[in-house]
């Protein structure tokens, strides 16, 4: 326990408190609601940055800022145990920053019942922050669900086209995924004999006495498919584009950017370290399904003509790389995956936000009905081009994504050399759809439909209130891209202290020596 652990607690509590305040200050007018909710998003960013500055990993079990409360479930070994390690910290900071951008954007939206919308978004934000700061596996799951429920509500109530169908499909898919992973977590808890859901205690118990092969196999299988559904592993991905297509933009930003990383984070932080033999049993499955994500969904993405659907599919596709990286179980690959998760979270959030801004100007998501927007809105087009380049992983604005993908490619090459060709083919595919989207939306002649729209709505460039949230995301992307060490040192240290990943490292470096 150290003095700063209360900062972690505050960063979860502040959005929750702000959420309830928005309901109460509603009668004081719209401005009060906006101020309270923006404060609820901004304060955690400040706290997270402080924590980042204060972080040093020398505490017990590699976790810093540890605190523990008994909530009354001690009979099954559950306690609210919070803390951050090197893997959790970057995602924690990313979650608060994406949350701030989404919150700023939502606060100025024209949503009906704005206070309720912001209430949902703030509860979701509290859940997201909680996910990445939980050491207790049960609360890790609990906070995920806390963030998930408002997503369904936001899609169902404030969503766009097909919102009812999308919300229901997403609810059923994600409940299935969550239930499978819950049973997987219960399996680990019961079979480990640790009598605790505390991840540190579980690791200690399983290092002392690993689970038998058959238990590892089925427990990892449950977690793989449970988490896989939540991360839109092919072929369980169909909820994602549909859901993101219908979701209001701030909800899509937070879900695609942050919440979807929950499953990967769970695999990296919990499933692989606790069940290493399970991974080797399932690794071929992971690789082939992930190739489905990269290649099949890549081609599907190319065929999309709807901007938001395309972004939804592209985020599904990028998850494939991370799955392959998990299968390699190497510090390089998994570290790359974590870096990519951070960078991708920022990028996809930016793109979802920009696509809604485009929609305000063109009144459509159909790319065929746009065109030539860069003349009318040069700043918007500059932002969008940056975001799209980053999503493709081109060095430049997407330097952070680039480092992540590069490490994953190297790890993939060391793991199975032929994999790297498939992964690179994925980059080509994303370059094709990304550049085609840029050209269809911003360049070329204006389509007839767009001209019609312009007669009624004067097309303006990005206003400052739109630029601020976009800038927050873009500056963070640049910062991580140019100074990746600020993030990767912590990730590397944390991964190297994990015997599973470190063992692979020694093996592969000795392997490399043999080649010399």
């Amino acid at each position: 326990m150290n003095d700063y652990s209360s900062l972690v607690q505050f960063s979860i509590a502040v959005p929750l408190v702000a959420a309830f305040l928005t309901l109460f200050v509603k009668s004081w007018g719209r401005a009060a609601v906006q101020i309270v909710s923006v404060a609820g998003f901004a304060i955690p960013v400040g706290l997270a940055l402080c924590l980042w500055g204060l972080y040093s990993p020398e505490q017990a079990g590699g976790y810093a800022f540890v605190s523990e409360f008994d909530t009354g479930l001690s009979v099954i070994g559950v306690s609210l145990k919070l803390g951050l390690n090197g893997i959790a910290l970057p995602l924690f900071v990313m979650a608060t920053i994406v949350g701030l951008a989404a919150g700023l954007y939502a606060a100025q939206s024209k949503a009906e019942n704005l206070h309720r919308y912001l209430f949902c978004l703030l509860v979701m934000q509290a859940g997201l922050i909680g996910v990445f700061s939980s050491i207790d596996v049960f609360f890790f799951y609990f906070f995920h669900e806390l963030a998930l429920i408002p997503t369904f509500i936001m899609i169902g109530v404030w969503g766009g086209r097909d919102r009812n169908y999308a919300a229901m499909k997403m609810t059923i898919y994600l409940t299935l995924g969550a239930m499978l992973s819950l049973i997987g977590l219960i399996a680990i808890y019961v079979k480990s004999g640790a009598e605790s859901f505390d991840l540190i205690a579980l690791k200690a118990a399983l290092t002392a006495q690993p689970l038998t092969d058959s238990v590892q196999n089925y427990a990892f299988g449950l977690l793989l498919f449970g988490f896989g559904i939540l991360v839109s592993l092919w072929p369980f991905h169909t909820w994602a584009p549909l859901g993101y297509g219908a979701a209001p933009s701030s909800a899509a930003m937070l879900h695609a950017g942050v919440l979807k990383k929950f499953g990967l984070y769970g695999l990296i932080q919990i499933a692989v370290p606790l069940l290493p033999d399970g991974v080797s049993h399932w690794e071929n499955w992971i690789v082939w399904l992930a190739l489905g994500n990269i290649l099949v969904i890549g081609l599907v993405t190319m065929a999309q003509r709807d901007l938001k659907q395309m972004l939804g599919y592209s985020s599904v596709m990028h998850m494939g790389y991370a799955f392959i990286a998990v299968a390699t179980m190497s510090v390089l690959g998994v570290g790359g995956a974590v870096l990519m998760m951070v960078a991708h979270g920022l990028t996809v959030a930016l793109l979802f936000m920009l696509s809604t801004m485009i929609h305000h100007r063109t009144q459509t998501f159909e790319m065929d009905e746009m065109g030539g927007l860069s003349k009318k809105a040069p700043v918007l087009s500059a932002f969008f081009v940056c975001g799209m380049m980053a999503s493709i992983g081109l060095p430049g604005p997407g330097l952070a994504n680039f480092w992540g993908e590069l490490s994953m490619f190297l790890a993939g090459y060391e793991y199975k050399s032929w994999l790297v060709y498939a992964m690179v083919a994925g980059i080509v595919i994303s370059a094709i759809y990304g550049l085609r989207a840029i050209s269809a939306v911003f360049f070329g002649p204006e389509s007839d439909d767009f001209r019609e729209v312009q007669k009624e709505h004067k097309t303006t460039d990005m206003t400052w209130s739109e630029r601020v949230p976009a800038l927050i995301l873009l500056i963070t992307m640049f910062f991580i891209g140019f100074f990746p060490k600020t993030v990767t040192t912590a990730i590397n240290d944390a991964l190297k202290s994990e015997p599973v990943y470190a063992a692979q490292e020694v093996e592969s470096s000795s392997h490399a020596h043999n080649h010399d």
Partner: protein, 504 residues
């Protein structure tokens, strides 16, 4: 019965130990007296007196007597007091307090005699409390029948309504059938256990402890096995478990809302109180009992959830969902044979289920529709817009029934699942997961009709003015708030029940 036995019973009477039941009985009588004594314009006070009386007793039990004042047997082995029994007392009393409020709201809409309803409700509650603590089949049957006869009246209480009468008739026939099955089972057990030719027979074979001794010595006797099967069948009817669930949708639909709530919560709780006592008695027959319960639990979950999918009437949806909850609770009962705290998990689940159901029923009771048997999902349309408070209460209640975190229902399901995993009931767990995922569909349907069709981005479409309807009194707000706040609080923070869950 021999005179010595009667003498023994008289010697071990502990009237003080059944003071909650006595107080409820006296309160029930007092209500009837008050109706005669009070002038006509003051009759509106009687339901309030009933509620206040129950709340005082509930408060006393919660504050001063949470774990039960007495332990062990009393009344010559007729009753046995324990912490679990005390928990069920509190459960029934809390349920009947909620139901009293619902009855107050529902009966005000109709021109119906009121006092009798509260009188019968209190008698039912007292007999359910006795039922949970009975340690003798005679006591069990008498208490059960007292409650069931009360239920016959309450189900058909709206006697001008055809659906209510139909429900009453169905409940009467099915209830009588189940009672006779139960009685037949008891008689078979009595016949076997009082046979002097068999080892372990006794002069008072219907006492649970004596019967347990007898069963341990004669676990393969076919008459005993059939008796056990029939007794379990009788209980399966009470909890609405497959294949005795067939009455549930019709009776739930036709009965007045407070009665439906009482059936859904208290009657189901009573079934589990009996079952928890009887699995101990039938322990020597576990090779037959647990496979039977396993099959029942699996089929109940599947039937309840798939049956609910096509329902449009809200009370039928709740009824079928209640069937599936019985299945989940049965998993807990089965797990309890190897996991010590599973009994307490069942009680936690029941409390969570009660709070969530009462929130939902309270919302339904406030709907403006005259005929509550014909409330469909469409009637919920725009509820959130008309009355945000009721909308929120419905969402929390349904969410908790669906087992969505961070609500109490989720913690209940979690405890049951962990217990089931520890007891290695993998098949039932798989069925449970299928059940949860399927259930999302119909719970989602309820939420959808209350919320999603209400608000939209279409700004040019002026929302119609809210239909006249749900108006909430102060008492209503407080009642619903208790159910909602309890549901949320138990989802986040279980300490109030946690120490007790851990068996401290």
């Amino acid at each position: 019965m021999s005179t010595e036995l009667l003498q023994q019973i008289a010697d071990t009477n502990q009237w003080g130990a059944v003071y909650p039941e006595l107080i409820l009985g006296l309160l029930a009588l007092a209500l009837l007296v008050l109706e005669i004594v009070l002038p006509k314009f003051a009759h509106g006070l009687i339901p309030r007196i009933a509620i206040v009386g129950q709340l005082c007793l509930l408060g006393y039990l919660l504050i001063f007597d949470r774990t039960g004042c007495c332990e062990g047997e009393a009344f010559g082995g007729m009753m046995s007091f324990s912490g679990t029994g005390q928990a069920f007392r509190i459960f029934f009393l809390a349920a009947s307090s909620f139901v009293s409020y619902l009855a107050m709201v529902s009966l005000e809409k109709k021109d119906m005699p009121r006092v009798e309803y509260f009188h019968i409700l209190l008698v039912i509650t007292a007999s359910l409390m006795l039922l949970a603590q009975s340690a003798h089949f005679v006591m069990l049957f008498v208490a059960l029948e007292t409650a069931t006869i009360g239920f016959y009246i309450l189900v058909s209480y709206f006697r001008t309504n055809a659906l209510s009468l139909e429900a009453g008739l169905k409940y009467l026939i099915m209830g009588a059938l189940s009672s006779s099955i139960l009685l037949f089972g008891i008689v078979l057990l009595y016949g076997a256990a009082s046979n002097p030719a068999l080892v372990g027979h006794s002069s008072d074979p219907l006492n649970f402890a004596n019967l347990n001794v007898f069963l341990a010595a004669n676990s393969a006797d076919s008459m005993v096995l059939i008796g056990m099967l029939l007794v379990i069948s009788g209980i399966a009817f009470k909890i609405g478990a497959f294949p005795f669930q067939i009455w549930v949708p019709d009776v739930y639909q036709g009965a007045p809302i407070p009665t439906t709530a009482l059936l859904a919560v208290a009657s189901k709780g009573a079934g589990f109180a009996m079952l928890l006592n009887l699995v101990v008695v039938f322990e020597p027959l576990k090779d037959w009992l647990y496979p039977l319960l396993t099959v029942l639990a699996g089929l109940t979950i599947l039937f309840g959830n798939f049956g609910a999918l096509t329902q449009r009437n809200i009370k039928r949806v709740i009824g079928m969902s209640g069937v599936s909850h019985a299945g989940f609770l049965l998993i807990g009962v089965i797990a309890a044979q190897s996991v010590g705290w599973a009994n307490n998990a069942i009680i936690f689940y029941l409390f969570a289920y009660m709070l969530a159901s009462m929130a939902v029923f309270a919302v339904l009771a406030h709907m403006p529709q005259e005929n509550d048997a014909e409330l469909t999902l469409d009637d919920l349309g725009d509820l959130a817009k008309r009355n945000g408070f009721l909308g929120l209460a419905l969402a929390v209640g349904i969410g908790s029934l669906a087992g969505i975190p961070p609500l109490a229902g989720f913690i209940g399901k979690l405890l049951i699942f962990v217990a089931a995993f520890k007891a290695e009931l993998y098949g039932l767990l798989a069925v449970g997961i299928v059940g949860v995922v399927v259930s999302i569909y119909y719970y989602f349907g309820v939420i959808k009709s209350a919320f999603f069709e209400a608000w939209s981005f279409d700004e040019d479409e002026e929302g119609e003015k809210a239909a006249p309807g749900e108006s909430l009194q102060f008492l209503g707000r407080v009642t619903i708030l208790i159910a909602v706040a309890g549901t949320i609080l138990l989802g986040f923070y279980q300490s109030p029940l946690g120490d007790w869950l851990a068996g401290k």
